[in-house]
């Protein structure tokens, strides 16, 4: 297969995915329509996570802090300072980016299990901070944004973020933006170096690369996408509480990415979609639905480490990025 062929296929697959998601809004019942809005936002979070774990080989157990940075950055901005939602989104995304860069300066001194532990400790500290400053964050009870606060005027149009159709398409835009960013990244020279670091960091250093810079860049981009997803989530659904900063929001992206296919661009959205509905369905039958999450995690790690897209790539479509 030539380079041009491969590029066409990659383009067709990802553009096709976006088109399918666009078309689905006309077919889905109301309930699933809202679910898909969530899924696209959460898939953005998963893609951000995947840049780090899938392409750079650094397994973080603390991404909830970057997601929460976006949620709180945007949510508190709107709640306390009545910020314009677009500005709040930018602030939330920036909060994810900056927090990730700062945490990276410390956590990236470690690798492997130590990196998992350090990121988890930082995320737990962040979670406790959201509880400790209860006066500001209202802890578990959280902050609810009013419909009025989530609307704004743009070129004479009134944009209301509580409108399901608008929300769906904004979520799709966010998702598409993240997809394009990830594709551009993994197909760029930087992406090639990130994969090289994942495969063999010492060898990469001996090819003249300062791996620390690349890892910090990967973590920062990962934090940016996580923060953007968090900011979008609070603006679309109008609520932020401490539970979003808790450990399960660090585990979820790991699960989504593992199920969909670690180190693939389309994997995170597939994993997010399936896992979202799996949890929804099990929630109908039992209150201890987290056990489903645990069992899935064990099953995936033991018997399906490549995930869906990873298996498809290994067996049939070697060209999937």
């Amino acid at each position: 297969m030539t380079f041009a062929d491969k590029r066409m296929r990659v383009l067709a697959l990802h553009a096709g995915l976006v088109l399918v998601l666009f078309a689905l809004q006309f077919l889905l019942p109301d309930y699933d329509h809202t679910n898909f809005t969530s899924i696209m936002v959460l898939a953005t979070y998963a893609m951000g996570y995947n840049i780090l774990v899938g392409y750079t080989g650094l397994l973080s157990l603390g991404h909830a802090m970057f997601f929460a940075a976006g949620l709180y950055g945007a949510g508190m901005g709107v709640y306390y300072f009545a910020l314009h939602p677009v500005l709040a989104f930018v602030i939330g995304s920036a909060a994810g980016l900056i927090l990730a860069a700062l945490i990276g300066l410390i956590a990236l001194r470690t690798t492997g299990v130590a990196f998992m532990i350090v990121t988890m400790m930082f995320a737990q500290a962040a979670f406790l901070v959201t509880l400790y400053f209860n006066d500001v964050t209202h802890g578990d009870e959280g902050l609810t944004l009013t419909q009025a606060a989530r609307g704004f005027e743009l070129l004479g149009w009134h944009i209301d973020l509580t409108n399901p159709t608008l929300r769906y398409n904004l979520a799709l835009s966010l998702f598409t933006g993240a997809l394009v960013l990830c594709l551009a990244l993994v197909r760029s020279p930087i992406g090639r170096v990130l994969v090289a670091i994942r495969e063999n960091e010492e060898r990469t250093r001996m090819l003249g690369y300062d791996a620390r810079h690349y890892k910090l860049l990967a973590l920062s981009l990962s934090g940016l996408l996580s923060g953007a997803a968090g900011a979008a989530y609070v603006l679309f659904f109008g609520y932020v509480g401490s539970s979003f900063a808790a450990i399960q929001y660090s585990i979820y992206p790991l699960l989504w990415v593992l199920l969909g296919g670690v180190g693939t661009v389309v994997g995170p959205v597939i994993g997010t979609l399936l896992m979202f509905y799996l949890i929804e369905i099990s929630r109908d039958h039992t209150s201890s639905y987290m056990i489903v999450v645990g069992v899935m995690l064990v099953l995936l790690v033991l018997w399906f480490p490549k995930g869906i897209a990873g298996t498809v790539r290994a067996r049939w479509w070697g060209w999937i990025p």
């Binding site: 020279p189 090639r192 001996m206 090819l207």
Partner: protein, 244 residues
Amino acid sequence: MTFLSTQALTRSFGGIHAVAGIDLDLRQGEIRAIIGPNGAGKTTFVSMISGRVDPSSGAILFEGEDITALRPWDRVLRGIVYTFQITSVFRNLSCFDNVALSVQRSLSKGRAIWYRPDPEAVRAAVDDALQRVGLLTRSAELAGELSYGHQRLLEVAMGLALQPKLLILDEPTQGLSEQEIADFCRLVKEIAASATILLIEHNMDVVMELAHRITVMNNGTLLAEGSPDEIMANLDVQRAYLGT
């Protein structure tokens, strides 16, 4: 000005001196072989030159500048390239991508991290390096699926693509067949036209064919140095290493 010189270069692990005060001078353009029994400290010595291992004491001068404190990736950019003793190509990447990592590094020297070298230039340089080692037809294959001999050649292609001034080859012919060794020697002579070569090698036929000068190490120290004929005639060397 000496091309490369080490001054009393020493590395200790606990109480053991793996390398104990080696002074070595390398002229530009020569092929220098380092020989010596297992455990003589050869790999540790060249690892200090490439920056993989920090010296306990001593200094390294490259093109007149002290590079002792320079990190390995900065040494690569100055032209010191190391190929691994144990093949360490990126097994899950194609041959093309393996070499492209080197090419894009040498094409983006001194540029920002997001600098994107011209993809056509990258492709041309990758093809050129693969052509030189005879792997061009295997460009799309995964490195991990190549035979061992081909992986060694890929490793050399990765080194070549970094446009080295000093190429350090650590036991490059280990595990190769007779025919592959003959091809390899031809390749090294070709490379020597544009780079200085430091070769750690056990196969004495290869050493005799390639080396302009030979350095013999034993127990972390420098036992002898000279032309291949001088070394063959040296009684100390025969006792320590050649076993006759």
